[in-house]
Symmetry: C2
């Protein structure tokens, strides 16, 4: 199984509308990426390791697929629509990571 | 529920022993952090969004706890042991993020 992460680095002065991200963008992404999408989480940053320090990332989304190919096939028809929604909640360009899931408990 | 991420940025010239990380360090962390640890995943980077580009992170670990307090109480007795194991697999200093889980499906 693979995981696709979208990580939004928390730059000073940047804009991130967590309510829109969680309430509108993520449900849209989830609806469009099913049934290939096997699991999903979305998290909003609280802090770094130090509770009084800002989080390195405003938010992180985690999408689980069976394979890189399955992810590619699922996202290609919807890529422009999803990317086009990003300015509605942020001016941060997300960092994208594709990983192999090696432990899952 | 909260998630604690340890993200290892993939710096050129850096060392990351994924076999030790997955086979030794993560099982140690999981054993020490239970029963407060509610869920865990560990992923090894494949690529960025472009399949021919290196992953931004060598690896990412994700730990789920009921609260920041539960995480703090679980990790404090074992923090030095876990941090002391890091040089056995990498010279990369992990980025640590604590987030609130807002979507989990």
């Amino acid at each position: 199984m693979i995981k696709v992460n979208f990580l939004y680095p928390n730059k000073p002065g940047s804009r991130f509308d967590a309510d829109y991200y969680i309430g509108t963008h993520m449900p849209l992404a989830i609806r469009l990426l099913k049934p290939a999408l096997k699991a999903v989480t979305a998290e909003v940053g609280i802090s770094s390791a130090m509770p009084d320090q800002p989080p390195p990332y405003a938010a992180i989304a985690n999408f689980t697929f069976e394979s890189v190919q399955a992810f590619g096939e699922a996202v290609m028809p919807h890529y422009q629509k999803l990317q086009g929604d990003i300015p509605n909640y942020t001016d941060i360009e997300p960092v994208v990571q594709i990983s192999e899931i090696r432990i899952s408990e």
